[in-house]
């Protein structure tokens, strides 16, 4: 059983690695930006499963929420905003993509479940337990990350919040309509 579990992990890892690289190649090679964005989404999700496989469950959730949820929506939003002229009215690519999206979602769920199952199996071997320990108690990865983040790395955490604030202000400044105009011309706009 141990041999089977070990081989199973190898097979799972190499399958995920091949899928991740295939998605990455798709990002670089696909001509349609929407297709490239969906390929990037696939890569993000595969990397999330790889995170689960290496006992970073909290980061896998963050990866899905921030990358697959936030950043991808931002990318697709900008693509839609920019390529308005190229997209035909009532563009039909969503209906063709929907079955694939369902299949991909089910596949991702199965993969995450299998990875979590394997993570539980590996925990018995003493691997990855240090990533779930808080004050000598084994609680969970999320609690352990939080305990380290808000104690040892509190100052970098605060600095990162300043980085986010600066990025937010910068994005707003770039996004203003008058930012594209020369100095003084912006004031005349309502």
């Amino acid at each position: 059983m141990d041999v089977l579990a070990a081989n199973f992990a190898e097979i799972l890892f190499y399958t995920l690695a091949v899928l991740t690289v295939a998605g990455a190649v798709g990002v670089v090679t696909l001509k349609n930006p929407v297709h490239a964005a969906l390929s990037l989404l696939f890569t993000f999700l595969m990397v999330a499963v790889l995170f689960v496989l290496s006992h970073a469950e909290f980061l896998a959730a963050v990866q899905v929420l921030v990358y697959a949820g936030g950043i991808m929506v931002l990318f697709l939003f900008v693509i839609m905003l920019v390529n308005v002229k190229k997209l035909a009215p009532g563009a039909a690519f969503l209906s063709g993509i929907a079955p694939l999206a369902v299949v991909g979602g089910v596949l991702l769920g199965v993969l995450i479940a299998v990875a979590v199952l394997f993570g539980v199996l590996a925990a018995g071997n003493g691997d990855g337990t240090a990533l779930r320990m808080v004050d000598g108690h084994e609680i969970g990865n999320t609690e352990a990350v939080g305990a380290v983040l808000y104690t040892t790395y509190l100052v970098p955490f605060e600095v990162v919040s300043v980085v986010l604030l600066v990025a937010m202000i910068g994005a707003i400044v770039f996004g203003r309509r008058s930012a594209a105009l020369g100095p003084g011309e912006g004031e005349t706009q309502p």
């Binding site: 990455a24 990002v27 920019v82």
Partner: protein, 100 residues
């Protein structure tokens, strides 16, 4: 168990694909996507070493990397919007306003 070398090799391949994408593509949006690919490769490396060394510092550092990646995406996409407003293009070759 999966050796950490496998993770490092995968991270290397992903990073190289990202670099190729940044260098080859003309579309600003796709270049930003390739940058995100490189951020993901870095995160994969950090997670692999966190697991290998049983140290949570790698995971915390990966959270910071994700934060910076989100900030970079927001500013980069804002730049795309500004470029489209100014020149009506997303091709990086056409962004030559400061060329002498």
């Amino acid at each position: 168990m999966i050796d950490a070398n496998n993770y490092i090799a995968l991270s290397l391949i992903l990073f190289c694909i990202g670099i190729v994408g940044v260098m080859v593509r003309r579309n600003f949006i796709t270049v930003l996507m390739s940058l995100e690919l490189m951020f993901n490769a870095v995160n994969l490396n950090l997670i692999a070493f966190s697991f290998r060394l049983s140290d949570l510092a790698g995971q915390v550092l990966a959270i910071f990397v994700i934060t910076v990646a989100a900030a970079e995406a927001a500013i980069g996409l804002g730049l795309i919007i500004a470029l489209v407003r100014l020149k009506d293009t997303v091709a990086l070759d056409d962004a030559d306003l400061m060329r002498g």
